[in-house]
C-alpha cells in the first residue's frame, strides 16, 4: 500500500495521481500500485510539484515495515538512526 501527501501542488498533478490512487482527502492519496508504478509516480510528483511538497510512504520488508521519502518544501526531514528512520521537526 502507498500513501502520498501533496501540499501546495498544481491541481493538474493531483488530477493525474487520481488515475492511479484514491484521493481520500484533499492532497492525500491512497493506493496499491506496483513498485515500478510507485517509483514513476514519485518521479512525476517531484517533477511537477513546483514549490509544493510531496511525501510518500509505502510498506516494505524492513524492520519498521515501511519506508518514507520527502521532496520539496515539507519542513520535516527524514533522519536515519543506524537503520531506523525517524522524522526531524525543525
Amino acid at each position: 500500500m502507498i500513501v502520498m501527501v501533496l501540499e501546495r501542488v498544481p491541481v493538474s498533478l493531483r488530477g493525474e495521481l487520481t488515475r492511479w490512487m484514491l484521493e481520500i482527502k484533499a492532497g492525500v492519496f491512497v493506493g496499491s500500485p506496483s513498485a515500478l508504478v510507485r517509483d514513476k509516480l514519485w518521479e512525476r510528483a517531484c517533477r511537477y510539484a513546483r514549490d509544493g511538497g510531496c511525501i510518500m510512504a509505502w510498506n516494505t520488508n524492513n524492520e519498521q515495515g515501511f519506508d518514507v521519502r520527502l521532496a520539496g518544501d515539507c519542513r520535516r526531514m527524514i533522519v536515519d538512526f543506524e537503520g531506523l528512520r525517524l522524522v526531524r521537526i525543525p
Binding site: 524492520e63 519498521q64 533522519v79 531506523l84 526531524r88 521537526i89 525543525p90
Partner: protein
Amino acid sequence: MVQDFRELPKLRDSWTYLYVEHCKVDREDKAIAIHDADGRVPVPCANLALLMIGPGTSITHAAISTLAECGCSVLWTGEQGVRVYAQGVGETRSSSSLLRQVAVYSDPEAHMRMVFKLYAMRFPEPLPEGITLQQLRGREGVRVREAYAQASRETGVPWTGRSYDRTKWSDADPVNRALSAANSCLYGLCHAAIVSLGYSPALGFIHTGRQLSFVYDIADLYKVGTTIPAAFAAVASGEMPVETTVRKMCRDNFVRMRLLARIVEDLESLFGHDESTAEPCDTHDPAVPGALWDPRAGQLQGGHNYADPGAGEESKL
C-alpha cells in the same frame, strides 16, 4: 498512564533498538522526543524494545517515566560498553514466569535439563546420548571458535582472539571494538525481552553469579548468527566509526532472523510456557499487592484483613 497493557504492541512486533548520543531526551506531548541543535525527533517509544543512550545525552524524569510506562528498556552505554540497564516493571504484572524460573533454577535435576536444553538449541544436529556437561562445553567452544574463524575467512579480516581492556577501549583492535558494541546491543535486547516477559536477568543456568547471568545464557544462542558476522563485516566495510556501522549491520541481522520474536518463542519453549494460554493478570492497577502465600491453600486473597473481629481490643481496656 497506559491503562490496558494489551494496547501495547507485543515485544515480538516491536522495532529493536534506537541509539542516540549528544542530545537531550525529553517528554513531548505524552510521548518522547530527541532534541538536538537541528530540531526535535519524536520517537514512537511504545513501539520500541530498547533505547540505547550514548555519551553526551541527558534524559529527563518525564521521559524515563514515559519509557517505563511503554515497556521500553533503557540502557546507558558508552565507549566502555554498557554501564546501566533500566527498565520499568516490564510489560507483565504477573510473577508466574519468574516463579517458574526460580523453580527450575533451584531444582538440581531441572536445572541440569535446562542447561542441556540451552546447549541443544545451538547445534543443528541432536546431541548424542549420554553426552556429559564437560563434553558439551567443549563442543560449544569449538562452535564459537569456528564461527570466528569462518567470519574471518569470509571477510578477510584477521582474527587474533577476543581481547579488550576495559580501561583502554581505543587500544582494542577494530573487530574487538565492533564485537563489544554489537554484543551490548544484543545483550540489551535480550535483557529487554527477559524483563518484558517477567523473567529475572540474574537467574542464569549456564552462566551464574552475575546480575545478568540469564542475559548471557540467552544472548549466546544468537551471537553466531548475528553479532559475530556483523562485527567482521563492519570492519571489512571500512566505514567509520566501526561502532555505528556494526549496529546498523546488527539491525539487518536482527530483522532477518526475527530476533525479538525468536527470543520470545525460545523463552516460552525453554520454560514450557505458552503465551496464548497464559492467564492474564487480572489487574490494571500495578499498585495492587496481589495474593498472600499459603502452604496449604496456595494463595489467599490479598488486600483483606485477616484479624479476628474483636482482636486487638484489649488495649482499649
